[in-house]
């Protein structure tokens, strides 16, 4: 894997001057991803913060070939691009020794929800591409509506914390597990606070033939009601509380990449974010307990599978 020195010496392919918010987790993720590819990248992005924040004609932050088509079709769009590449290469219209990496991007709304079918289809068909989901846990671009990635109890504009319903009433969808169930060669969870782990996973994914998937937690000060300057620490706490475990499944073998020496209580992560403020009221404390219990049991399950074949 490339060292930090080597990574930082590589060309900056994601230009500054974009309109993503201060403290947004997406730009550091993108910069690291593009530096880790090691070959030219062609990317597509689902409608969402990343698309809006990096384009607005006639400007672009992308120093690579990039296309946005719609909200739910990032995986289908990359399927077409990658198929065109294979076809044109076969016909000699692209040099045989030319290597291009294909990258599809989407937020949790575009990946867990509306783009879920297209993602599943593209994984099943075995296109050679990397799909990266930046998971900030709600439809942030349209103004913080709940998605199937939104944590239990989180207040969003469509699951507000009211007296009858204290925020989102359901546990989040475990998309990484569902993706793993497609038996693809590589899938992992990562976080922008751990640049080494993220870069290593991106490099591995880009260099694996066939469909690969990264689910990256992405702090959103706007929707999390958290401090922009604390975004990286917030991401770190998501991992240290085991809300967002760093693990990978490579050729069917699951590996937990990081086991916190001291597993922190979930409250430490929740209390940094205004979206969970109401959970600390006496009448909602049962939700905190519920959350802790569920995280504990999922973390245990993961540890039991560590080093084992999952498919």
């Amino acid at each position: 894997m490339a060292t930090l020195k080597e990574l930082s010496a590589r060309e900056e392919l994601f230009s500054g001057g974009h309109r993503l918010c201060a403290g947004c987790g997406i730009p550091p993720i993108m910069r690291l991803l593009l530096r880790s590819a090691g070959a030219p990248v062609v990317a597509t992005t689902a409608t969402g913060c990343l698309e809006v924040g990096t384009t607005i004609y006639p400007y672009t932050s992308w120093r690579i070939s990039w296309i946005h088509s719609a909200f739910e079709n990032s995986a289908a769009t990359i399927s077409g691009i990658e198929s065109a590449y294979r076809s044109l290469k076969k016909k000699g219209k692209i040099a045989a020794d030319k290597d291009i990496k294909f990258l599809a991007l989407g937020g949790d709304g575009g990946t867990y929800d509306i783009g879920f079918q297209a993602l599943s289809g593209a994984l099943e068909r075995g296109h050679d591409f990397l799909y990266v989901c930046y998971d900030n846990g709600a439809y942030m671009n349209t103004g913080i509506q709940r998605s199937s990635a939104t944590p239990l109890g989180s207040a969003t504009t469509t699951s507000p914390a009211g007296s009858a319903h204290p925020g989102k009433g359901q546990w989040r969808k475990d998309l990484t597990r569902i993706v793993v169930a497609h038996n693809i060669p590589y899938a992992a969870q990562a976080s922008p606070h751990n640049w080494r782990d993220l870069a290593k996973k991106a490099e591995k994914a880009f260099n694996t033939e066939g469909p690969t998937f990264l689910n990256v937690v992405s702090p959103c000060p706007l929707g999390w009601y958290s401090k922009p300057e604390l975004s990286i620490e917030t991401a770190k706490l998501a991992v240290d509380t085991c809300y967002w475990p760093l693990y990978e499944v490579e050729d069917g073998i699951l590996k937990v990449n990081y086991k916190p020496r001291e597993k922190k209580p979930i409250e430490e992560w929740l209390k940094l974010q205004g979206r969970f403020k109401h959970l600390f009221k006496e009448e909602n404390r049962w939700l905190l307990e519920e959350t802790q219990k569920r995280i504990d049991s999922e973390w245990e399950r993961l540890l039991e599978m560590d080093g084992k074949r999952v498919f």
């Binding site: 607005i56 070939s65 044109l88």
Partner: protein, 398 residues
């Protein structure tokens, strides 16, 4: 449409779907992304057989929905590939969002649309509700009367869509079951001649040209959005001339010339029917019968519907006194079908324009018979005699 059979050896009998699949094999597109739906399924089944037997060099992407089919077509076309697909009915409806993206990004995807009714109630038979729903999507629409025409139109659609003056996707429509499953005589074109005619796709830009990175599909705000649409509107309007050019060249090469429309015994007609696709064949029989009785009746069958050749259609109808526009789709506007409002609007404001009425017919595969056409001509004669258009819009074949 009568087809001159110049070379008996090239004559075959095929269904509409087989002819379209065969045309796709001859075109040998770079990428084909598709999803099965009745009645267009056989196109992709047969094309898949060509793929399985190594008769095409296409990358076949058998996607999980029509939405993904058109999305993959958009991705592939943006990557500089020649792209084709086929669909019908609900499939086209599911593509709707992405149709606009293909045309807005000026990607020359070519699609065979085997016309079928839309749900509800669910129905697998022919009408034009599906493609009429996409009439404002910025796609070129060419409607085919016969199997031969569907076959010929596909090659022309590739040339028209990819022309740098146009760069607009195109759909070639043929009637579900009536044309898609009917076996007709047709004359095939040699593979080499097809290759010569369609040539190589030369994209203006490609995502795969990584030395020259481009950003496509950027968010575009009020400062620029309308300007993009203005350019797109100019391009599709200009497609009309290219349709004429390509149709003429096709005629010179292969002996079957195509234009914007077909006028059948229209020159001296007092009354006329305007209708798309296979129903024109039925109407021609009625025209011939009535002509034998000395009645001056005629037919106008638009071939190009989008862009709408409003001047040419209006001019062709100016000598006629009363016209009935038959729509195989109801726009549910309360004012007839889409072809009716387009034709009537094209004639509006012209001195001594014919009286125009509209009738919806044949929805969901309801038969349209020669007698139905004769009844429409009777009604038109009644309009002539009374001088009154009477009921402007309504249904027949019910």
């Amino acid at each position: 449409m009568a087809t001159p059979l110049t070379d008996k050896k090239k004559q075959v009998v095929l269904t509409g779907n087989s002819a379209v699949a065969y045309a796709m094999k001859q075109i040998d597109p770079d990428v084909c992304a598709a999803y099965p739906i009745t009645p267009s399924t056989a196109i992709m089944e047969e094309f898949s057989s060509y793929y399985a037997d190594g008769k095409v060099s296409t990358e076949l992407v058998t996607v999980e929905s029509e939405h993904s089919a058109m999305s993959a077509c958009v991705g592939a076309a943006a990557a500089g590939a020649r792209v084709m697909t086929a669909t019908s009915s609900q499939g086209l409806a599911l593509m709707w969002e992405v149709l606009y993206i293909a045309s807005g990004m000026r990607l020359p995807v070519v699609m065979a649309v085997v016309n079928r009714a839309l749900s509800a109630p669910i129905n697998i038979h022919c009408d034009h509700s599906d493609s009429m729903g996409a009439r404002d999507s910025g796609w070129i629409q060419i409607y085919s009367e016969t199997v031969q025409e569907a076959y010929d139109n596909l090659f022309q659609a590739v040339r028209i869509a990819e022309d740098h003056r146009v760069l607009t996707p195109a759909m070639v429509c043929l009637d579900g079951f009536i044309t898609s499953h009917a076996i007709e005589n047709l004359t095939l074109i040699e593979d080499g001649d097809v290759k010569d005619f369609v040539g190589e796709f030369e994209p203006k830009q490609s995502l795969l040209d990584t030395g020259h990175p481009i950003t496509m599909g950027a968010m575009t705000l009020p400062e620029y959005y309308i300007d993009f649409k203005y350019e797109q509107s100019k391009a599709i309007r200009g497609a009309k001339e290219v349709v004429i050019e390509v149709g003429r060249e096709f005629g010179e090469r292969f002996g079957r010339e195509y234009g914007l429309m077909e006028c059948y015994r229209l020159d001296d007609a007092d009354v006329a029917i305007v209708v798309l696709s296979s129903a024109a064949g039925t109407t021609k029989v009625a025209v011939d019968r009535l002509r034998d009785q000395g009645k001056k009746v005629g037919l106008l069958r638009p071939r190009l519907y989008r862009p709408f050749p409003h001047e040419e259609i209006a001019s062709a109808l100016m000598g006629v006194k009363a016209v009935c526009v038959l729509d195989r789709a109801d726009s549910m506007s309360g004012f007839g079908g889409p072809l009716f409002t387009d034709v009537r609007s094209a004639l509006y404001g012209r001195d001594s324009a014919p009286k125009v009425i509209g009738r919806i017919f044949g929805l969901g595969g309801r038969d349209y018979k020669v007698e139905d056409a004769e009844a429409v001509f009777d009604e038109l004669y009644n309009v002539l005699e009374t001088g009154e258009a009477g009921k402007l819009t309504g249904y027949i074949t019910i």
